[in-house]
């Protein structure tokens, strides 16, 4: 009996042990699974953090740039310019403009580099031997244009000495920031030894300082003077495109959502539209670029590189987003509202436009902003319609040549002056990301603010 009992107890104990072991194992695997989940989340969040940290680390320094503060003397002996022509009585505007242009040309033919060099020499230590090519490698190549334009705008400067804040060249900027290994031999350095010496001396006496680079926001892209390359042109191009998108995509998108959700009978035609919109939302963006190239440019002969064409392509891309979001918003309106309106004798159109649509206004607004933000970051289709051309002016209308912010990033990342442009590109990315975050923040703000009232 007792033997049986004890053996039974042993079996029970063994069974408990097995169960305990099994439980421990199951709990361990439970914990492992949980840890995997946490790991995945950490990885995803890590990527977000890494991306932002990387762009910030690279981009923030580019917002400060080396500047030269030079006293420039408009020495009549060095310049020797004719007086500016005056408009004579009876002279047509075109003739006068031609005379002014000829005068400006004659001014441009003068050797302004001499002026730049002279003012650089005035701050150079006397014991430093440096030739003019070396000394001119320190200021940006556009320095002579800046000085000339100041003179063209105001010929009275002749004989005077004026303080100019000139950009230092990209190489100088790199040297000042320490982006270049200072121990490299002369053959590998972009700047000659005396030039580097002079930069160090100028930095010491305060002629070269690092200032906030407003030029990034106010200048247009530049190839000859990399340190002056800015985002203003691309920003205006993006702005014009956004305008086109807002003017076209929002009314069309909201209208077709209203039709599909409120009026459309269940027919083959409306089914077709529905399937179509869902498919369009998933078509790769580059295919829209092909559409733009073939239809808008090749068939309708709209101007290449114009924000109008870019805006049209982005409109077609954004439409599905806006339609789908607006439909979701319309579906969210309570049927009681509709029935109440209809019950009071409103027609369907009145019901929709007077009662349903105002309620959905906040959601439509947020969806629109998010759609526009998406369009703002799109690059690939714009490359196919020629928006990647180099444009050195701020576009004045939607049919002028222009580029866009993401395309500008694409152009800058391919610039051969890597040392300088890697930071510039990151700075442009920061501006773009800042805009997108701003747009999304506005969308979230509007949603929380307006939806509470509705």
């Amino acid at each position: 009996m007792s033997e049986l009992q004890s053996s039974g107890r042993a079996a029970a104990a063994k069974r408990t042990q097995t169960i305990r072991d099994g439980l421990r194992k199951r709990h361990r695997s439970e914990q492992l699974f949980r840890a995997l989940g946490i790991l995945a989340i950490c990885a995803a969040l890590g990527f977000v953090g890494l991306l932002f940290a990387d762009v910030l680390r690279k981009g923030v320094p580019a917002f400060w740039q080396a500047n030269l503060h030079l006293d420039v003397t408009f020495d009549p002996e060095l310049i020797g310019a004719d007086p500016r022509p005056v408009r004579a009585e009876g002279q047509s505007i075109a003739d006068y403009n031609a005379a002014i242009l000829a005068w400006q040309r004659s001014i441009a033919m003068l050797n302004w580099n001499n002026v730049v060099e002279a003012s650089m020499r005035s701050v150079t230590p006397a014991d430093l031997e440096i030739d003019s090519r070396q000394i001119l490698s320190i200021p940006e190549t556009n320095a002579r244009h800046v000085i000339r334009e100041a003179f063209v705008a105001n010929p009275d400067l002749m004989g005077q000495t004026v303080r100019f804040d000139l950009l230092a060249s990209a190489n100088t900027d790199n040297w000042v920031k320490g982006n270049i290994d200072r121990t490299l031999g002369d053959a590998q350095q972009q700047l000659s030894a005396p030039a580097r010496q002079l930069i160090d001396a100028l930095e010491e006496n305060g002629t070269i300082t690092q200032d906030f680079a407003w030029g990034i926001f106010t200048n247009v892209d530049s190839r000859s003077a990399p340190a002056s390359a800015g985002l203003a042109g691309a920003f205006m191009g993006s702005l014009y495109m956004m305008l086109v998108v807002i003017v076209l995509a929002v009314p069309i998108g909201v209208a077709s959502a209203i039709y599909l959700e409120e009026f459309a009978p269940k027919s083959r035609f409306t089914d077709l539209i529905e399937v179509n919109i869902n498919n369009l939302a998933a078509v790769p963006s580059i295919v829209f670029g092909l559409l733009g190239a073939a239809v808008f440019i090749n068939f309708f002969h709209l101007p290449r590189s114009a924000p109008l064409v870019g805006g049209l392509v982005l409109t077609l891309m954004t439409l599905p987003t806006i339609i789908i979001a607006t439909r979701a918003a319309l579906q969210g309106v309570s049927p009681a509202l509709r029935q109440a309106a209809l019950g009071l004798g409103a027609s369907r159109t009145q019901m929709v436009f007077h009662h349903v649509l105002p309620v959905t206004f906040p959601s439509i607004l947020t969806a629109t902003i998010i759609g526009v933000a998406q369009a703002l970051g799109e690059t690939a289709p714009l490359l196919l319609i020629g928006m990647s051309a180099f444009v050195a002016s701020i576009p004045g209308s939607v049919v002028d040549q222009a580029t866009a912010l993401p395309v500008q990033i694409f152009l800058w990342q391919g610039n051969e002056n890597r040392n300088f442009f890697e930071a510039r590109t990151s700075a442009a990315i920061l501006v773009l990301l800042g805009l997108m975050i701003l747009l999304n923040a506005v969308a979230i703000f509007l949603r929380t603010r307006l939806e509470r009232r509705a």
């Binding site: 989340i41 039709y259 790769p284 092909l290 703002l376």
Partner: protein, 459 residues
């Protein structure tokens, strides 16, 4: 200036029409019981429509033909003997001078007598046509206004008419989506067919060499357009991207929907969705300057030869990009699994992870597969990351550690800076685009079908 005048005129007409319609319809209603069908604003809107639409038609006609008309008139002003001597460029220059003189801006240099007389005549012509245009717009507008006003009666169903117009507008807007699709298909197809008139489709779809020659070098020799190197490159990148995104995305979705407290979920979910909102060019740059060199150095440290720009770099970064697509979609699908299934598993003594692995995931599998397919189709169609970070080397490769090229990269390469659609060099972009379109379309349709089908099971 001219367009401003016309805009002001149109606005004034519109205001007048609206006001007229309003007043007339208001006068109809009498206290002794004449009932007007529509409210005044509908009568007003109807009159405004009658005024605006004909005027806009006139303006559109002028917009289409006006410039050509002025130009041909200006050409007719140039004396015949001068005209004969001019070539196309010279003619344009002369016309420019005449236009400039007519505008009062003047031209540089001496003015020839015929230019001056032509400019004077042209100025008269421009003035007359402009006045005629304004008169026509105003006349048509006022005629429409009067006609519409004369038809206002108490029984006129103005509201229904206005609503019909509004509905027609709505239908037109909905049709834009169809027009877009038709435009995509037609433009891709027509240009691709032109491409296939140069290149045999068999050579395109089964060729193993991608070497598009330049039109300047080729005399009858068009280069080789084999799709397979690009296709394998595309698939390499998509495969690596899904290897990165699927485990991370899925586990994220599982943890956030099943384990995480509400506050954690509220913070983490939007943070991860930031990844979906970042422009792809930013990912491309990140891959090019940070991930690529890192991978090369890491590979060097363990004795692997990894190129900085490679399928691995592009795929890895693209995987990061599509994490939120997988996680959001899987999240939705996991939440749709009925609670009863989960409770049943708990009731049988299963742990949470066992419930998830053995009950939730199998139930949600079709939906997750759908999400996976959607993500893959996105990876296939993605452009900027691969343009920057894949290395653009269209060669058949057996390893993802070397530079590759993809379909999208080749589209960009063949079509940037060249929209002269005459040779296969640029037309091939449309054949590639068609291939891409069909591939992603099939993936999307299958994915949507699976997701939708699965949803219906529990409803």
């Amino acid at each position: 200036m001219n367009s401003l005048i016309i805009a002001v005129l149109l606005l004034a007409l519109l205001g007048l029409a609206y006001q007229t319609g309003w007043m007339t319809s208001r006068r109809l209603a009498t206290p002794n019981g004449v009932k007007v069908h529509s409210r005044p604003q509908y009568h007003a809107a109807r009159v405004a429509l009658w005024t605006l639409v004909p005027a806009l038609v006139i303006l559109a006609i002028w917009g289409l033909f006006g410039t050509d008309l002025t130009r041909s008139y200006a050409v007719s002003l140039i004396p015949t003997e001068t005209l004969v001597a001019l070539d196309q460029i010279g003619l344009n220059a002369t016309l420019q001078r005449i236009y400039a003189l007519a505008s009062g801006y003047g031209v540089a240099g001496a003015v020839q007598p015929f230019e001056q007389s032509a400019a004077d005549a042209l100025r008269n012509f421009q003035l007359i046509t402009f006045l005629a245009l304004i008169a026509a717009v105003a006349a048509v507008g006022i005629f429409g206004l009067l006609y519409a006003r004369s038809r206002i009666t108490p029984r006129l169903r103005a509201r229904n008419i206005v609503e019909t117009v509004v509905t027609a507008l709505l239908i037109f807007c909905s049709a834009v989506a169809i027009l877009t699709t038709v435009g995509i298909v037609l433009s891709l197809l027509s240009e691709a067919i032109r491409f296939f008139s140069f290149i045999n489709p068999v050579d395109f779809f089964f060729g193993t060499v991608w070497n598009p020659g330049f039109s300047s070098t080729g005399t009858g020799n068009h280069g080789q357009y084999g799709l397979l190197p690009l296709l394998t490159g595309t698939l390499w990148v998509a495969a690596i991207a899904s290897l990165v995104a699927v485990p991370i995305g899925l586990m994220t979705a599982i943890y956030l929907s099943q384990y995480a407290p509400r506050q954690v979920r509220a913070v983490v979910k939007p943070l991860i969705e930031i990844l979906a909102g970042i422009p792809t060019i930013v990912y491309g740059f990140f891959a090019l300057v940070s991930v690529g060199p890192f991978l090369r150095n890491a590979g060097g440290a363990i004795g692997l030869n990894i190129s900085a720009t490679s399928a691995l770099t592009a795929g890895l970064v693209m995987g990061i990009m599509i994490i939120p697509f997988i996680s959001s979609l899987s999240d939705d699908i996991l939440n749709q699994v009925p609670k009863s299934l989960r409770d049943g598993a708990y009731g049988l003594g299963a742990t949470q992870s066992e419930t998830i692995r053995n009950v939730l995931l199998p139930a949600a599998l079709p939906g997750i597969v759908g999400a996976f397919l959607l993500a893959v189709s996105r990876a296939i169609g993605e452009t900027m990351i691969v343009v920057l970070a894949a290395g653009n080397s269209p060669v058949l490769r057996g390893t993802p550690l070397e530079p590759i090229s993809t379909i999208t990269v080749s589209i960009v390469n063949q079509l940037t800076g060249d929209t002269d659609f005459t040779g296969p060099q640029s037309l091939v972009a449309f054949a590639l685009g068609l291939t891409l379109f069909v591939m992603t379309l099939i993936l999307n349709i299958v994915a949507l079908y699976i997701v939708r089908r699965f949803r219906e099971q529990y409803e």
